[in-house]
Amino acid sequence: MATFKEALQRMLSLFRKREQDVELDQEMQSHLEFAVEENLRAGMTQVEARRRAMVQFGGVQQARERQREARGLPWLEILIQDLKFTFRTLRRDRAFAAIAIVILGLGIGANIAVFSVVDTVLLRPLPFPNSGQLVRIVTKNPKSGESSKTYSADATEEFQQRNRSFQDVTGYFAFSSDENLKLVTTGQPLPVTGLMVMGNFFKTLDVQPVLGRLFTPDECVRNSRAVTLLSYAFWKRHFGGDPAIVGQAINLSGTPTTVVGVLPETFDFGSVFSPGSKVDLFTPVVMENIRFQGNTLALTGRLKPGVTVPQAQAEADLLFPKLDFIVTHQYKPDYTAKLSTLKDYVTGKLRRSLIVLWCAVGVILLIVCVNLCNLLLARAAARSKEFALRSALGAGRIRLLRQLLTEAIVLAGGGAALGLGIAYAITAWLANQGSIALPLLSSVRVDHTALAWTLAIALLTAVLFGLAPAWKISHEHLVDALKDSGHGSSAGRNHERMRSMLVISEVALACVLLVGAGLLLHSFLRVLDVDLGFEPSRAAAIQVDYDDHHDADTRSAIWQNIVHRVEAIPGVETVGLSDNLPLSRNRSWGISAKGKTYQKGELQGTFVYVISPGYLKSIGMRLIKGRDISWDDGPKSQAVVIINETVARRLWPGEDAVGRIASINGNDALVIGVIADVKESDLEGNGGWEMYLPATQAGPDGANLVIRTTLPPDTLASAVMGTLRQINPAQPATEFRTIQQLVDHAVSPRRFFVVLVSVFAVLGLVLAALGIYGVISYSVTQKTQEIGIRMALGATQGRVQIDVLTKTLQMVLLGAAVGVVVSLGISQLIATLLFGTSASDPATFAGMMLLLGVVAFIAGYIPARRASQINPSIALRNN
């Protein structure tokens, strides 16, 4: 109780300082008077009585200090004093403070932002309860896109029943495309993205709806009433967050569908399972409907408590090869399963990139610290007399150190505040980059972990850049410092040597960053340079809605009509339709040469595209041999197929494939053309097996209209939509996308990293340049007199410039040499992130060194020029 009371009193006394001081002075005053009186009574003279009283009392000032210490919080008072003094000094030195805080803000901001991304993607568990139990199940060696990562309905159900490792196994239909449904309201039909999930999908993930309920088993069977769950964002956007929507029916592509619930805001399907896409609503997958559609389900399971991934993997290795494709057909497709935690599956590929990014910002922070260390050293040199004076006046060494550290912490605090602002801006921007195909990006934010990280970083930087100058100053000899006028004395030299070392390390660090960024940039350019097999410029695509009642003749007529009508729009060159576009959704079937027998593993899933005549030309795929399909390849004529070079080479090695008969899912088709390989799933891999079938002979899975134009594609959007509406008033307002957007989306993760790393490298370079400039400029100022004398003795301007530049280049060369050696080591670590670029690519190294050299030269040239313009007579008169 007493201690609490005391603490409170001590705190209060901070605010009553003056009052209490006055009271104490009065008290001590009367104390002395009592003493003098008593001494007088004892017979002393007035003077003697007063002297004795003073002696008995002891030091008045000491008594005052001790009383203050006893009543208040001395450490806090000293801190406040230091802070006040710091603010006064920094206000006087505004330019220095501003530069320091901006540099720190950039360094700390970059660190928090990247930490937030790393934390969200790598460190934090997925946003599901007990997410460590969630396991993604995919084929061991997927060669042909989604079809080879998925399983059939029967296989899924068999595995569900037979396994003993999982609490639950669930899946979603992996082949639905964006904007695959239309919401029919009173106005224009609205394109929405729906995803079919198995009935137990949300239960397995342990996602609870914020409104309503999840699907019930009887809603997942054939001919049950249609139901849907809305995503939170879609509910907010299109139903204004109206809770009354639950229980109502909405018209989805003509089917009245009852909304049974709304999913929570935290559940973002796209960010976990399909980065870069968004799903508006979910419907139950009816297993009966997909039983004969082949491999369609992407599986995820929840392990039983205590079961490890390797245990489940061992069981899966036994079970999967025995699973049926379709139970009644007794055909075993030799399924395999690779189990990995959902977290690993989603973020595993990013681990290295993110760690590289994290290291890059770490290096930036180091450069920032070195830079500030440098700035503070320069200041310390200028202030060494001030400190010597203060220490001569009785300030203890610890007290001076404390003052310097306080300054550093105040600067770091300012930098951290600015950095937080920057980080908030960056993360807010990142979270809204739906087009970047990186998982979990939408949930990136600066949270309390990031705030703790900020605090740690700020303190660390403060100590790092605050301690060196503090140490330096506190070890300086007092008398020397008082005598040192700062020109060419040994203490000055010492400062300079330390600062040169700092600049050299800064240059080395910047060099490492530059080389890393250069290699990644080079790779990125290489990726952009790959032969896509199609021509994205001046081509665009839009999803088309039509109803052919599953009749090939009707479809043929509708498609022909669309192609002819859209072709008539001015500016349109060619038009074609395809169910799937490259670099987006894909599916695969089997193809083989008729009459040949193949060994296991010789064939592989072949990407299948169902197209119209003119599609190949519109998207810019190159027909190497044979002909395009034509409208004459009708439902009743000879079945035809166009294959890519890879298929031609593998099925008919050394022969001409055109004119051969292929067997596609057991049906014969005449090969009429061969096209150059297309990058169908990503830019960096090799093309797979591809085939193109006419829509008049095979069933397309939706339709994308592809238009090649002579105009910028965007200008045609409204004309094309207008025409589509004329043909089909129910055409929803689907997105008019350029083909370039598909490519951009595919390279977005790489672009994301390259842009960030490059920005950091430039930041590092600028900071290093600032460091060089600071040191050279300072040394020129210090040597004004010396230079003046030399010029008076006949040194030319050019000579002075060369001397200063030589010093600059010495530092840069040393730094670059260290940097190159370190880079050679580090670039091996990022080798797996490179594409078409060697980790020790000489061109990149040379280019970056050149860049570094030029920037360093400029940083050194400015002070060199100033040095050469020193007027000897003025320089000699000064000081």
Partner: protein
């Protein structure tokens, strides 16, 4: 001077409490003089240091202070011990008695051979 006792940390506070408990309300000078007299001028006391002790005891709520006037009409701050101060004093004096007894016994230990 070197023959006088240097005060141990915390002892001054006990002396002040005991003084106020015996003589009732008193100002700082009076307390300091009283301690000097009772100790037989054995204690090395810069009278000024009494004020740190007084403010500390006051903040702990063991003594109270009011401005008053002395016999010879001088304004001075008068300190008096509070109820919780008396409790504290009882605790402290018991402690000091025990400690001094122990110290006394230890220091007057007769010499013994071996262990």
């Amino acid at each position: 001077m070197s023959s006088k006792l240097d005060l141990l940390q915390g002892t001054l506070d006990v002396m002040v409490l005991q003084t106020l408990a015996t003589i009732g309300s008193m100002h700082g000078y009076g307390v300091a003089r009283r301690i000097e007299q009772v100790s037989g001028d054995e204690v090395l006391l810069n009278q000024g240091t009494i004020y740190a002790s007084l403010v500390r005891l006051q903040q702990r709520g063991w003594i109270s202070a009011t401005w008053g006037t002395s016999d010879n009409n001088r304004k001075a701050k008068y300190y008096a011990i509070t109820a919780s101060g008396r409790k504290q004093l009882a605790k402290d004096s018991a402690y000091w008695h025990r400690l001094s007894k122990v110290m006394d016994r230890v220091l007057t230990m007769p010499l013994e051979g071996g262990l």
